[in-house]
C-alpha cells in the first residue's frame, strides 16, 4: 500500500483506521486486554493478603469445660479473638425464652432452634450492631444489654430492642461429653 504524506499524520491515520480496522487496532486491543488481566491478577494477591491468615484460621476451635459453671452463671471465653458467652440457664430463664411469642421478635427464631441443650445457651458475645461486648444479666429481659448503643437481648440472646438488627450469633459447637463442649 502506498503511503501518502497526509496519511502519516496521526489524525488522518486514525480516521482511516476507524473505517478500515488494521493490524494496529488488533494489537492495541489485545495488548490492552492482556494488560488488564495482568493487572487484575497481580491486584488480587495484594488485596487477599489482608484476609485472615493461616494461623488465624488454624486457631478456630476451642474446648471448654462446663463443670464449674453454676446455673445462672455466664462464662465468657475467647474464641477467634472475640468473646463467646456460655450461659448456664436457670429453669426460669429457659421458660421465659421458650414462652416468648415469635411475633414479639425483631429477628424471629425459636429458643429451641438456638440451643442443643436447653440449659446451655452458647452465643458469640458480639453485639450485631457495631461489635461491642454486651453485659450479661442486664436489660429488661435479664439477658444482655449492649453498653455502646443500648441494644437489649433476651435470655436466648435474641435482639428485643435497640439498633442491633440480628440475634447474637450461635457458633458451631458440639458436646463432646456431658460437661465438655467444643466450639468451632
Amino acid at each position: 500500500m502506498r503511503v501518502t504524506p497526509r496519511e502519516r499524520t496521526g489524525v488522518e491515520l486514525s480516521h482511516a483506521e476507524a473505517i478500515n480496522p488494521s493490524r494496529r487496532d488488533f494489537l492495541f486491543l489485545t495488548t490492552g486486554a492482556v494488560a488488564a488481566v495482568g493487572a487484575a491478577s497481580v491486584a488480587w494477591p495484594l488485596i487477599d493478603q489482608m484476609n485472615p491468615d493461616a494461623t488465624t484460621l488454624a486457631m478456630s476451635s476451642i474446648e471448654v469445660d462446663l463443670a464449674p459453671i453454676q446455673a445462672g452463671q455466664i462464662l465468657t471465653v475467647k474464641w477467634r479473638g472475640g468473646p463467646v458467652f456460655l450461659r448456664h440457664r436457670t429453669a426460669k430463664e429457659i421458660k421465659e425464652a421458650e414462652a416468648t411469642p415469635l411475633a414479639d421478635l425483631k429477628d424471629p427464631a425459636t429458643d429451641q432452634s438456638r440451643v442443643q441443650k436447653p440449659e446451655w445457651l452458647i452465643v458469640v458475645g458480639v453485639c450485631t450492631h457495631l461489635g461491642c461486648v454486651p453485659l450479661g444479666h442486664e436489660g429488661q429481659y435479664d439477658g444482655w444489654k449492649c453498653p455502646c448503643h443500648g441494644s437489649i437481648y433476651d435470655t436466648s440472646g435474641r435482639i428485643r430492642s435497640g439498633p442491633a438488627p440480628l440475634n447474637l450469633a450461635v457458633p458451631e459447637y458440639k458436646f463432646l461429653s456431658a460437661t465438655k463442649v467444643k466450639i468451632g
Binding site: 485472615p52 488465624t56 477467634r80 457495631l130 461491642c132 461486648v133 453498653p147 439498633p163
Partner: protein, 413 residues
Amino acid sequence: MDGHSTYVPKSAIARWFEARLPIVGLVHSSFVSYPVPRNLNYFWTFGAILSFMLIIQIITGVILAMHYVPSAAMAFVSVEHIMRDVNYGWLIRYLHSNGASFFFLAVYMHIFRGMYYGSYKNPREVLWILGVIIYVLMMATAFMGYVLPWGQMSFAGATVITNLFTAIPLVGTGVAHWLWGGYAVGDPTLNRFFALHYLLPFMIVGVVVLHVWALHVVGQNNPDGVEVKDVKRDTVAFTPYATIKDMFAVCVFFVFYAWFVFFIPNYLLDADNFNPANPLVTPSHIVPEWYLLPFYAILRAIPNKLMGVVALALAMALLAFLPWLDTSPIRSGKYRPMFRFFFWIFVICCVGLGYLGSQEVTDSATLVARILSLGYFGYLIVVLPVLGLVEKTKPVPVSIADAVLPPSAAAAE
C-alpha cells in the same frame, strides 16, 4: 494570577539554576509576590496554621514511630515506655496527641470560614472538593492513630468504626474480616493500621499540594466575596503582608496549643484508654474523639443500622456537593442576611450534635439528636438550594478596594 513582582535571579549561579529548574521562581511567585486580597480577616490565617500543624504531626509522628511497637502484646507497653523512659518522649507524644485535636480545631475553623464566605462557589469547586478529601483523609488518619496506643477505648473505637462496614448488605461481614485480618479486631488489625497511619499523612501532603495549586490558580476568596478586578488596587503582596499576619496567627494558636500540651495534656483523652485493650470487655460508655462526635451522634440518632451508617456517610459526602447545593450567586454571607441566620443555626446543630455524641443514650437525648440531624441535613439539601432562589441580598461592592477603603482613598488610588 499575576503577582506584584516577578523573580529575577541576581547571581550568575541563580540564573544558571533557574534556566534548568525554575523552582526558586515558583516559590517566589507562590509565596512572595503572590497577590493577596487586601481585605482578608484573621479567619484566612487557618490555612497557614494547618500547614504548620501538618508538619508538626509528621515530625512528631516519625519520631514516635522510632520507639513504638505495633503489636497487640507490646503496643500499650511501648507507649508507656515512650512516656516514661524515652528522652522527651512525653513531650513528643503530647505534642502529637494534642496536635491531632488542634489540627481538627483549625480545620473546622477553616471549613466554617469557607462555608460562611461562600469560598466553595464558582470557580473554586475543585479547590473545595480537594479540601473535603483532605478532611476525610484526616479523619481516617486520626482514627487509626487513636487505635495505636491499644487501650480499651482504642480497641472499642476500632471495633465500632470497622463494624460500620458490616452494615453493607451481602459483603459487609467479608469486608470487615478483610479489614481485621481475622474474626475480630486484633494483632493484624493493629499492625496494618500502623502502616496506614504512617502512609496517610503523606497522601494528605500530596492532596494539600493540589489544594494550594488549585488555590493559586483561582486566587483566594475574601470576606466580601468579590473577585480581584485590579491587582494593584485590590491586593497586597503575600510577603510581607500575609506572611507576617499568618505567622502572628500561628504564634497565637501555638500559645493555646502549648497550654494544652504543658498544662492539661490529658484533658482530651479518655480515662478508659489507660487500661490495656481487652477484647472480652467493652467500656461501659464509649465515646469517640471530640472531632468525630457530631457524626457519631447522627449515627446513634437513627434506629436502623444500615440507615445510620448511610446517614453518617452522607453527612460527610454532602459537603463535597456544597458548590452545587448552594444556588445563590452571591458568595459572602456578609451580603446574605437570611443565609446568615440559617448558617448560625447550622453551626448550632453541629455543636449540639457534638455535645450529644459525648452523652449517654437516653430517649430525650435521642429525640434532640434527631431534630439536630434534621437541621444538619436540612441546611445542606433544603435551605441552601431554596435560599438562593428566594432571598433578598444586600448590594455587593463593585470591588475589594471599594469595600474596604474610604471613598476618597478608593478614588485616589
